[in-house]
């Protein structure tokens, strides 16, 4: 078969340029993170890692992620079920609305929450009367993280569920299955992988969100520093090795995310070739 660009010279040149650019733009930064983190030796690395403030930042990041991911998972499933299984006025509008967090700058996302829940905000002032503080505390970080990551699960599920159609679910209804049983026994097995992929993406973004969180966190060391904020603070303090130690944890998580994604795609491709 003859194809465009198959001449050996063209092929070698294009692959060569692609590999050099990939190494320079993607691989080099990745290597640099770990090289900088380990610059002072492995002992200093452990010492930085077990720093009180770094541990606190890891704890807060885990808390935020553990709250955000399940909430957005449940919301994503309900939204996908709603827009792919029913036709109702405003369906398109709803799908457009859910894309807003993708278009909004993270700083603007933080700003709108600050306006609402800050001391002078509509809700913030009222909650202040009950001694409930949302801004510059962990609930605010959780709220903006939910905002920033809410489209991921739904975005993975909607195209898939649209393509699959509702026939099997309808058959289950005529057989007398309840809604929960239909979801668990019919729908869930079909969307398992897309759901997992959505969760992986939500998780990666929730752990790493910086712009929105830095607006609402107020960066109180040991209290409202998530891991990305900790990276920033140590970097600004000229503690490069410390900053890259925290950064290396986040980079490790990014690598795990990429590996999980590749594994899911590989399985999907294999299933397709078997079918």
């Amino acid at each position: 078969m003859i194809r465009i660009g198959d001449a050996p010279g063209v092929r070698r040149l294009l692959i060569g340029v692609a590999l050099v650019l990939t190494a320079l733009f993607l691989l080099l930064p990745l290597v640099a993170i770990f090289a900088q983190a380990l610059m002072g030796g492995i002992d200093l690395y452990w010492q930085n890692l077990s720093d009180r403030y770094t541990l606190a930042a890891i704890g807060l990041t885990l808390l935020v992620t553990l709250l955000t991911v399940p909430i957005n998972l449940v919301f994503g499933i309900f939204l996908a079920w709603l827009v792919t299984r029913f036709n109702f006025p405003g369906r398109r509008l709803l799908q457009t609305l859910i894309d807003i967090p993708f278009a909004v700058s993270p700083v603007v996302a933080g700003l709108v929450y600050l306006l609402l829940y800050g001391r002078n905000g509509w809700l913030g002032g009222w909650l202040d009367g009950y001694d409930i503080q949302i801004m510059f505390a962990w609930p605010g970080i959780v709220l903006v993280t939910i905002f920033v990551t809410c489209p991921f699960v739904a975005r993975e599920l909607i195209p898939l569920m649209q393509a699959q159609g509702a026939r099997e679910e309808e058959a289950a209804v005529t057989l007398g299955a309840s809604g929960w049983t239909i979801f668990r026994r019919v729908t869930l097995p079909k969307i398992r992988h897309a759901l997992l992929y959505g969760v992986i993406l939500t998780n990666a973004r929730a752990v790493g969100e910086f712009g929105a969180v830095s607006v609402v966190a107020g960066a109180i060391r040991g209290q409202t520093n998530t891991l990305p904020l900790q990276v920033e603070q140590l970097y600004q303090d000229y503690n490069t090795v410390g900053a890259f130690t925290s950064a290396s944890l986040l980079a490790l998580l990014a690598l795990l995310t990429l590996a999980a994604k590749a594994a899911l795609e590989w399985r999907a491709a294999r299933r397709e070739s078997l079918a």
Binding site: L111, G118, L227
Partner: protein
């Protein structure tokens, strides 16, 4: 009345869960998305038109629009070329390490932006691995708009690759064969035969990369250095105003950023919709 209409429609539905999923979704969308966004409108409505104009046309803010637009445009154009090359190489050729390169393309989405920011700033500073070398060539990157464009380009790499790749994969090989058999040279054949199939996806990907770059914050601020009138991006200006408790100023500038990115997203969606319909044979 609306509720009654909805209920009447719902009763004709076969599948269960309409009421529950509608309730959960609307509650979530109202509380998480709409309520915070209305607070922006609320804050804006307290400003008079002349006050608003004064806040958004401050010379330092105007300079930040210029830097942000310029850097984002350069980053998007870079990604159009780089993304097209990567998609082509990953779809058309076999080479060792291909799976690894393919997986690496998603790194900018998986890596937190702040981590990308400090890493690029360190690499391209005048003492960094790359920056030291570029400095001797008289090409300072850090603390210039080039550095800002570089950081924006990094965070938006996946957009073009991932929109062009599936289209290229689905392209039947007859398209190639016809051109090659007719004796067209590679470059000419690519422009005349392949590119017409790819360019809607290429434009979509580039547009998405541009929108993302306009709002980028974490990856940019470290390498930008924040010199007034020169390397301050608009999201940094909003952030600085918030730190100075200038909520009115921050909101006014944020409204410009928000309106721009929503308008661009709408245009991209319409563009994509038109293209998709044409693909499926409907419409004109």
């Amino acid at each position: 009345m609306i509720a009654a209409t909805l209920r009447r429609r719902a009763s004709r539905r076969v599948l269960p869960g309409f009421g529950l999923s509608l309730g959960v979704t609307l509650t979530f969308v109202s509380l998480i998305l709409l309520l915070p966004l209305t607070s922006l409108v609320g804050q804006l409505s307290q400003l008079s038109l002349s006050q608003y104009w004064f806040l958004i046309s401050d010379p330092r803010i105007l300079a930040s629009y210029r830097v942000t637009l310029l850097a984002a445009a350069v980053a998007a154009l870079f990604n159009a070329a780089f993304g097209l090359l990567m998609a082509w190489v990953l779809v058309r050729y076999e080479f060792p390490g291909k799976r690894l390169v393919d997986a690496l393309m998603d790194l900018p989405f998986a890596l937190p932006t702040a981590v990308a920011g400090v890493t690029l700033a360190t690499l391209y500073s005048s003492q960094g691995w790359v920056g030291r070398w570029l400095e001797t060539l008289g090409l300072p990157i850090a603390y210039t708009w080039v550095g800002i464009a570089l950081a924006m380009a990094f965070t938006s790499i996946p957009f073009v690759v991932r929109t062009v790749q599936p289209i290229l994969e689905d392209l039947p090989s007859e398209v190639d064969e016809a051109a090659v058999t007719l004796g067209a040279r590679d470059g000419h054949a690519f422009r005349r035969v392949i590119l017409p199939h790819l360019w809607p996806a290429l434009v979509t990907g580039t547009g998405l990369a541009f929108v993302r770059s306009l709002g980028e914050f974490g990856a940019v601020i470290f390498i930008a250095g924040g010199k007034p009138f020169e390397t301050e991006i608009t999201s940094l200006m909003i952030f600085v105003k918030l730190q100075e408790y200038d909520y009115a100023g921050a909101t006014a500038v944020a409204s410009i950023v928000l309106a721009t990115s929503l308008a661009l997203l709408l245009v991209i969606n319409l563009w994509q919709g038109r293209f998709t319909r044409r693909l499926h044979g409907g419409g004109a």
